[in-house]
């Protein structure tokens, strides 16, 4: 079973290399999809064994939390890559260099995220997270328009600098371990409580690491690259970045938090995460209310949901952490589906402005229905998983004596709710200006290159599966509830 640690990484690398050089159309088309399926399968297999697997002297290690995160990477990756499959054009044509590069980078991206959750070494975790920046840089700039390039530049500079702060923290943590007698970046050793780590140094290190990883976890105030990158990247890539890359970075924060809890007690990290979470909710609320571009609106919705997860982690305890993990899964699936749908709406309507999309339900029910279902998930309507996770986090926070914070959280959630409902109802229901329906698709919005306007069609099955999964997952005490409990316990809070 320990082989399951290597399989997702090896497959991602092999398919990445193969699709970079292959001339087979099918391979280039399906490489990302297969990588995601393998990650999903390995994650489920690791969850099924229920034991901690180790390889290469502990460099690769999967406890229940790692296995759960790998499953999320696979599931969200499957939704995004499957949903992103455009209808097949010319079957015989050899793939263009652009298509090959896109496929290869998606595989490497998925592989880097898998490595990030499958390692026990915080240094390797950092290297893998930085590798995701490298893999996604050209994916964000894939369209090569001015705006896409601008987004890619800001993303690489801000992302790398932010994550570099986490490297400084990692280095100081290593120094603390070395001074305490054992030079190690192993998370297991650092959380064991056996090392007499210097609290002052750990405090600095943990603060820097959380600040740095927050950059890629889409938490305010480190989020400024996010709306640009997510609105310019191809839709499946936006879905992956918002749905699962942020969650992987958040996973790094959870691991750091576990170290801080052992060495320093919960105070410092709780304060940091609570502040970041509430600030994220406030920023998201303010900007969603006045947002005119629906892709940017979805990006700010990610800031909101990562804020909720940060608040859940700040509350701590088995109940809140299990809810946070449920939130990771539900948000990932819903957000990946929504970005895929948003990409199709963009391709069909030729505009990214909320105000220019009207009466979607009447004109394009195949787009409108999944869009509404995804929005209902994101907004936390029952029976979708996010309803249960949000309620649980708020209740757990209340019990933990953070009543005032939870009151603020609920208030801000209502603001976000109002903004999202207003925008999506106007897109789906409002009747359009006279004659708007006669305008040929792709001619509005002006100045867009022809290659950007693909056919706004694609498979519905992945969206149905993903949203269906978020609808039932909240009810499954066995096996889902039990898995979440084990994963939360892996952080040492049982």
């Amino acid at each position: 079973m320990a082989a399951m640690l290597v399989v997702p990484l090896a497959v991602a690398l092999a398919l990445g290399v193969a699709s970079a050089v292959a001339r087979s159309r099918a391979l280039v088309r399906l490489a990302g999809l297969v990588t995601a399926v393998v990650a999903l399968g390995s994650g489920l297999a690791l969850l099924a064994t229920g034991q901690v697997q180790e390889l290469a002297g502990g460099l690769l290690r999967a406890d229940a939390l790692s296995a759960f995160m790998l499953t999320v990477i696979g599931a969200v990756g499957l939704t995004a890559t499957w949903g992103g499959l455009a209808p097949e054009g010319d079957r015989s044509a050899t793939p263009t260099p652009d298509e090959r590069r896109y496929a290869a980078l998606v595989c490497v991206f998925l592989g880097a995220m898998s490595l990030a959750v499958l390692t026990d070494n915080l240094g390797v975790l950092w290297v893998a997270l930085e590798a995701t920046t490298i893999a996604t840089a050209f994916l964000v700039g894939h369209r090569r328009t001015r705006l896409a390039l601008e987004a890619a530049w800001k993303y690489v500079v801000l992302g790398s600098v932010g994550v570099a702060i986490a490297l400084l923290g990692t280095v100081l943590l290593y120094a603390a371990g070395r001074t305490a007698g054992e030079a190690t970046l192993s998370w297991v050793t650092l959380t064991s409580g056996d090392l007499p780590l210097d609290p002052g140094l750990v405090r600095v290190a943990v603060g820097l690491m959380i600040l740095g990883f927050a950059t890629k976890a889409d938490l305010a105030p480190m989020h400024s690259w996010l709306p640009d990158a997510l609105s310019e990247a191809p839709a499946p890539v936006s879905g992956l970045m918002s749905g699962v890359l942020a969650a992987v970075s958040f996973y790094a924060i959870l691991r750091v938090q576990a170290i801080a809890d052992v060495v320093l007690g919960p105070g410092l990290v709780r304060g940091l995460l609570l502040a970041a979470g509430i600030l994220s909710l406030a920023v998201a609320g303010a900007l969603i209310l006045r947002q005119r571009d629906y892709r940017r609106m979805l990006a700010y919705s990610s800031v909101e949901h990562m804020g909720i997860m940060a608040i859940g982690a700040a509350v701590g305890g088995p109940l809140a952490l299990a809810a946070v993990l449920l939130h990771v899964l539900g948000h990932g699936l819903a957000k990946a589906s929504l970005f895929v749908v948003a990409g199709r709406i963009h391709a069909t309507e030729g505009t990214a402005l909320v105000a220019d999309v009207r009466a979607l339900l009447a004109r394009h029910p195949r787009l409108a229905v999944p869009f509404v279902a995804g929005m209902a998930t994101l907004l936390g309507f029952p029976p979708f998983a996010l309803f249960f996770s949000e309620v649980t986090i708020v209740v757990a926070g209340w019990r933990a004596g953070l009543g005032w914070a939870m009151a603020v959280v609920v208030g801000l959630l209502l603001v976000v709710f109002a903004g999202l409902v207003r925008a999506s109802s106007s897109m789906v229901l409002a009747s359009g200006p006279a004659g708007a329906d006669d305008v040929a698709p792709g001619t509005r919005g002006g100045g867009r290159s022809a290659r950007e306007v693909g056919p706004g069609r694609g498979p519905l099955v992945p969206l149905v599966l993903a949203l269906g999964a978020t609808a039932v997952v909240g009810f499954l005490a066995v096996p889902v509830g039990e898995v979440l409990e084990r994963a939360a316990a892996a952080l040492g809070v049982s």
Partner: protein
């Protein structure tokens, strides 16, 4: 080869001194060509520091790390940046939002801040030399040098926010990374070898990507002035 304590502290002082002086020069000089040369010098100084620690600690692995640092930071990254400069083509001088005098004052301030905030780090780690000497840490050469690394990090941030040209931002990022590496070597004799390998590779790839992107920016926007990147906003 044995390295006497005096020789070790002289080597550390020499290399960290070079690192500090080059960081100040980054702020003073506006020419991007000068920045390329400064990066190469800084990479060399960092490699010297690693080699000195390797000899003092008698770790063969660390000597290999020194060679990697030399190859990546003193040769490969300056080459990438120089290639980016040729691709960018436009004026090689930056017009910072800050004049050199203000810049130097800011660096002086940042250095002071670095010395103040690194106190807990110095107290806790007592430097590599202290471990070698077995106690009596306060005067250890590596301990007094930690603020140099933090100064480099802060000056890197300064360049990132005050420079207008895309490649200058890249220089800021690379200076920041050199600073982090300096802190790593001074406090813990570097991170584990496999992590060091991964980090070096990551930084090199990021540098390559930034060089390619700035070339494309220059094609689309004329001179790659990040002040013109205003298409995306709320």
């Amino acid at each position: 080869m044995h390295l006497s304590e005096a020789a070790f502290s002289q080597l550390v002082a020499l290399s960290t001194g070079t690192l500090l002086v080059t960081s100040v020069l980054f702020v003073w000089r506006r020419s991007l060509r000068a920045a390329v040369r400064l990066l190469a010098v800084q990479g060399g100084a960092l490699a010297l520091l690693v080699a000195a620690i390797a000899l003092a600690e008698r770790e063969g692995e660390l000597l290999v790390t020194a060679l990697i640092v030399l190859a990546v930071k003193a040769v490969a990254i300056p080459l990438v940046l120089a290639r980016g400069l040729r691709a960018d083509g436009a004026a090689l001088r930056d017009e910072p939002r800050m004049n050199p005098t203000t810049g130097l004052l800011a660096v002086a301030g940042l250095t002071t801040v670095a010395y103040l905030v690194s106190r807990p780090i110095i107290d806790a780690t007592r430097g590599v030399a202290a471990l070698l000497a077995g106690g009596d840490a306060e005067a250890g050469p590596a301990a007094f040098a930690v603020p140099v690394g933090l100064t480099m990090v802060l000056v890197g941030f300064l360049l990132l926010v005050t420079r207008r040209r895309a490649l200058s931002q890249m220089v800021g990022f690379l200076l920041l990374d050199n600073g982090i590496a300096t802190v790593a070597f001074l406090t813990a004799a570097g991170v584990p070898f496999i992590v060091e390998l991964g980090v070096s590779l990551d930084v090199l790839l990021v540098a390559l990507i930034l060089a390619v992107l700035s070339g494309r920016l220059a094609e689309l926007f004329g001179a790659a002035d990040i002040g013109r990147l205003t298409g995306l906003r709320d």
